[in-house]
Amino acid sequence: MEITSVGDSALIVRVRDRFEDAPEETLKEVLNLLRRLEDAQVPGIIELAPAYTTVAVFFDPVRVINSAGEPDRVMESLRQKIHEALARGKRKQSKQAAAPAIEIPVCYDPEFALDLDHVADHAGISPNEVVALHSRAHYLVNCLGFTPGFPYLTGLPKKLTTPRRATPRKEILAGSVAIGGTQTGIYPQVSPGGWNVIGRTPLRLFDVQKDPPVLLRLGNRVRFRAITREEFEALKS
């Protein structure tokens, strides 16, 4: 485990260097670290933000100094507090079964699936096979970011790995389901983007009126279900 500063008001605790070879274990370690840091209630820490292999810790240096007493020892003080938090007895693992996968309906209709043919060509299979592979796999949310609520999903069948587009699109519509490299994801709002769009979900991934504002959270299991255009319209309304 590594602790690195990110400027004067944040640091990163890194559990591993990479996640691709073991997304599930990495996620478990990140979530475990996150829980421990939450439980530790370190004075001056104002926000925790996990991503793939790290938990970012945002802090108010002034409050850390006030609690540690010395302006020159902010990082040392935080490092020590973080190590203490991790050394504390293991949190009781709840024995409940893993939460069921969240099902995301996706319409792979050509109108939505701008790059389905490209992904199919790249994989050397038919568009229907791409849809079958994509909607049959089991996914895991390993990160949220890029735009509010954008889930980065691991678990994409190897065959569907497709490099990002050389030139990103200026506008990708909300709900677009796309493939970027070895991951798949969903654009929660209209935004520019370089991933290959293969379908669209009628669900809202980000809604500020909801608590939490995101449909998918870090650690959620996800499956896609192919729907028809009619189902898409019905679910949308």
Binding site: D8, T53, P61, P71, F146
Partner: protein, 328 residues
Amino acid sequence: MSLIVARAGFQTTIQDLGRIGFRQFGVSSGGALDLHALRIANLLAGNDESAAGLEFTQGNIRFRFGDERVISWCGGDYDVCVGSRSIPLGHSALVLGEDELSVSGPRQGWRGWLAVSGGIVVPPVLGSRSTDLRANFGGLDGRTLRDGDELLLGKQSDFARSLIDLLNERRVSSWSSPAEWSSTAKTKPILRIVRGCDWDRFNASMHHALTSETFSVSPDSDRMGVRLNGPELHRNDDADLVSEAVAPGTVQVPPGGRPILLLGDCQTIGGYPRIAHVITIDLSIAAQLRPGDTVRFQEISLPEGHRLLFEREQELERFRIGLSLRKK
């Protein structure tokens, strides 16, 4: 009562101190790009530091007031006037109902922050009144202000009331904030940096280029970041980096080699190497960088950065106390 936006200008938004706690969902912290300036303006307007104010970018702006308010502003080198009366930055000033406040300029710098006693009242979204222009929520319908918008103002504090009494005759205060807090546009700005998480992915000549050469601000800069032209910075390695946290102040280097200095509306994570981070107190200067400006970077140690921030916070505390004694 309310404030009418008679002329909205290029990019005027409602901002407060930003969103805390939602980075885990990919939501930017946002808020005023110079949080310290907004805090100062709020204090001088008799507000809580976290009240929502207005951030403007370039002048040609007019606001009309519905009733008596204390106002204060900080930022670039603008002319702010009520009629023919000039309102210098970092002061408290009284405006009356029907008064029109005009903002023109700037001669230097790019942004300014205006606080009005009572604060701008819009529903908080995810704990903040800040406008998130990228995801289009917060502020006024998640957008920049337009001509004719009417903004609701909150109830004025007792302190603001007493400031109104004090300012009744002269309209503009004799007191002011330290000039370096309110006037943040610099002729040849130098931003102090600490080493970034990926500093070691760059060799000594790249470090030298970053800390000794001059960069110029590209026109495609915005609230997300300042894009810089100048010497290209290239990494030693070409490993694919796992996306990790970035923060306002992070200087990241995309493959082209042109660094980007991230500001308040930046993404929460990024996969570009972070060569350096501008220290928090110098983000006030970074927020004034306008396309065409030049900027240089100077390395300091992390403890030094913390000490500077701590000292400023202590000065701010003294300023708060001094200001609170201004009662009739």
